[in-house]
């Protein structure tokens, strides 16, 4: 895996090509927008998308946990896609193997399960979270009045990279702006929204299992 360590706000952020950040100082793994249960939600409604995406996503998260051995996992919103379904039952089983690892969910607009269910799944739910000088929120826009540096998700950011012959492609990215940062969406069944960063801001794209600094 080709990680990249980024110094920002006097902290060390390890950017993984698997769309996660490992925060060295806090030994925390940060992910966003997993949208677990999305394919099951679609399938339950008769839309035949492939079924095994949740297994893939969780297997990927499992590998990251084994690699970094974090003390806690911070999810900056949209852990689950919608109402309860059998993908969540799968998550419950999967969760057991990391019973002692704390899962801290900063609530996103998709996180609409009953509070009791989160408790059963051993997921602590926060409206926001603050560690050191960093403020975690799902949607950065709403957290800006806090006047703190925000780490967020929600957007599923991507940048358009255009080349010769009118060819262009859109790649998922980590965005570190002046006031806030945005993580790429972790889930494999998620789309991308193009962002237009300012020239002096830092953007890292993920391409070919690598994290590359774009600007």
């Amino acid at each position: 895996m080709d990680d990249l360590i980024f110094h920002h706000r006097s902290q060390h952020w390890v950017l993984s090509p698997h769309k996660a950040i490992y925060w060295q100082e806090e030994q925390a793994l940060i992910v966003s927008d997993l949208h677990l249960g999305k394919s099951a939600h679609f399938r339950k409604a008769g839309i035949a998308v492939p079924a095994n995406i949740v297994q893939e996503d969780l297997f990927c998260l499992q590998k990251l946990i084994t690699l970094y051995q974090p003390l806690r996992i911070i999810i900056v919103g949209d852990l689950f896609h919608s109402v309860a379904n059998n993908d969540i039952a799968y998550f419950r089983l999967w969760r057991q193997q990391f019973a002692h690892l704390a899962f801290e969910l900063v609530q996103g607009n998709h996180d609409i399960l009953r509070p009791a269910l989160y408790a059963e799944l051993q997921v602590q739910v926060h409206t926001h979270l603050q560690l050191r000088n960093i403020y975690f929120a799902h949607d950065a826009e709403e957290a800006l009045p806090q006047k703190k540096y925000v780490i967020s998700g929600h957007i599923h950011p991507g940048v358009v990279i255009s080349g010769m012959g009118k060819q262009s492609m859109r790649l998922p990215c980590f965005y570190f702006g002046k006031k806030y940062a945005v993580l790429p969406a972790f889930g494999k069944f998620t789309g991308l929204a193009s962002v237009a960063p300012e020239p002096q801001e830092s953007v890292f794209v993920i391409a070919d299992q690598q994290v590359l600094q774009w600007q």
């Binding site: 409604a45 492939p50 826009e141 957007i155 702006g177």
Partner: protein, 844 residues
Amino acid sequence: MVQTTRGWTVVMEWLEARGQQPFTFQEEAWEQYLLGKSGMVNAPTGYGKTFSLFLAVIIAWINEHPNDFQRTAKNGLQLLWITPLRALAKDLGRAMQEVVDELGLAWQVGIRNGDTPTSMRTAQKKQMPEVLIITPESLHLLLGQKHYPSVFTHLQCVVTDEWHELLGTKRGVMVELALSRIKNLVRNNWSNDLRIWGISATIGNLEEALEVLLGHDAAHGVIVRALINKEIALKSILPDGIEELPWAGHLGIRLLDKAIPIIEQSRTTLIFTNTRSQAEIWYQEILRRYPDYAGAIALHHGSLDMELRIWVEDALHTGRLKAVVCTSSLDLGVDFRPVDTVIQVGSPKGVARFLQRAGRSGHQPGAVSKIFFLPTHSLELVEAAALKEAMEENFIESRPPVVLAYDVLLQYLMTLGISDGFYAHQIWQEVTSTFCFQDMTPEDWQWALSFLTTGGEALHSYDEFRKLERNGNFYACHSRQLALRHRLHIGAIVSDAMLKVKFITGGYVGVVEEYFLSRLSPGDAFSLGGHNLEFIMIKDMTALVRKSHAKKTIVPSWNGGRIPLSANLGKMLRKKFQEAIAGHATDPELIALQPLFALQAHLSHIPSAKELLIEKINTKDGHHLFVYPFEGRLVHQVMAALLAFRISMHHPITFSIAMNDYGFELLSDQPIPLNDDNVKALFSLQDLNTDLQRSINATEMARRKFRDIAVIAGLIFQGYPGRNKTNRHLQSSASLLFNVFRDYDPQSLLLRQAYNEAYFYQIEEARLRDMLGRIENHSIVITQPERLTPFCFPIKVDSLRENLTSEKLSDRIKKLQQQNFRPVDDKPSKPAKPTRAGTPRKLL
């Protein structure tokens, strides 16, 4: 002898009383029908094609009820009449009801389509009218109702009107599937002698059209041809001197003053343009230069408010309008008797489309259809000559039928699932009897069934997929919610994301593509429906606007405006060029173009039918290579990428690519290593498949095709009308679904279909192969002109238009013009800001 039957006599007497006489082809159709045959009637519009079949059904009815044919009422559905256009239904129904009433039959003629009110539908359910005029979509909705088979108990005949329009589309596949079901039902359950007929204008593959319509029964089908040669007078609008016509351009406004006298001398004129934006510009320009026409001319295109369009159509009927600027929106439809002249602005790109449009004038039998061709740039005049000869030779394009449209099949199976359910073995028999699915394998069929029952996966305990439920060999849907949602999704027309445009004070203007609006800022002015509008905001999926007094407005560029040149017209075009160089051209267009040909011949060369011309030209921009296969822009696009790839394999080099319908251009900053020695190899058929895959982005093309497929197959949930928000969690883009399938279910037949459609429609692989095969036997002429030639000029300008903003474009054109001492189009198009993939979200 059928001619002595009661029905025949009654109908003949009735016609006589009206002072009418049947055409020979009508009598022939009646005869074949009475003999129990199925088949197809091939007749031009305006010559009683409707009566050729409608009266046949009436005659048969009278024959079977010779004594009480006037008395019996409530006979159940006798004739199902499928028409692609809702707009046709009303007039058709009126004409049929008139006949029925005059003959004193107690029949009802009903209409069923998206506009039919619920009360009417319910009444129809209780008592079906004897004749039902229906669209393919409404027919499928009918098959999606409980106890639908009883509707067809008494059915005698199904007629598919305008079959040439449906053939070659997925709506045509919907008709094939519905017919397979109805045929089997009627013949097996009630042993009626069901007859299937189609009505088609002349197309290149009439026999195949019959085969597609009748499926397995095609061998017994007959084609009844109306041997009526509709007289079409084509005249080109020529400038006073050929040098007045620009070398490049696509608007044609420069010749507007020449079009006005034609409009003046005619009763009503239809002005056909190729795109909606062109129609908007023409409409505004006519009013600007000829303000007296206010109120006497109108605009008609697919993005305008339905009410406005209906008003225009009514005004056309009553002859209140002097002229209407329109697009393909008026290609089809009912006859507008007052229309006696048609002006086609720019190339119609195909023979069939041109005939169709010409036929919009002089609708009465025997009348001459007058059509004027108004060129937008000089070389287009050759197309006028080519069209003329193609029409004389009846060299009309074929409509290749759609095969193995799994998306439509999935939708159809679900439709049967929500009504009475179905037995798989029975439907397999029916489906494989259609032309579309005759080559479907049992494995593919199993895939389709499992896609609907288990969502394509082997059953496992976690899966909650539900759609169809299986009980032995019987499949049905038991969820009311799913059934409701499916009903809303029936259909095979997938439109782009469109937003309504409304005045802030109320009043609906029309629709524009979301993509266009996303590039506007509040205060920007744009034109729609002849109004200058100021954009205020988007609210609830509606763009709010107010009247603008801005002098300059942006005209929306609706996507899909560019139709490529058809293979038939391309072939005729090459022939005309050959005539021009051989010096025996007789067409006035070619004679007018002689100075241009002379310049082309002087600077470079004019290719004969057995030559491929390549021009190598150096300009300040770099090294250009122009190639002229005359095969249409789609083929050229692929061809250009292929050639660029093959050259770059031997030599590191970068190109930029441009193309039009006549040829394409490769531009590089270094000399392009193409010469007499290697040119044949570069155009070789060898390794075509591998080279194609490496040179074009087939995945991107397939991804674009996947959108329609995903919608038709029911993968994209568009929400309930008026209840969009509650289902947000079920929304996803086609592009995302494409990725997910590619990564996790690459065997999906829907993906395979997307690639097939890309190869067939986008890459036009067959045509590309034909072309390369032809080039193998051609001699290739490479010239090195010192400056731009009349042939290459439009390609070069076209390429600029795609890459630069309007200001820069006009500068560039001015510069080019000075180089060449020739005028270009008076009003270059304004491609607004450069396009990008999606609108980037501005970070705070």
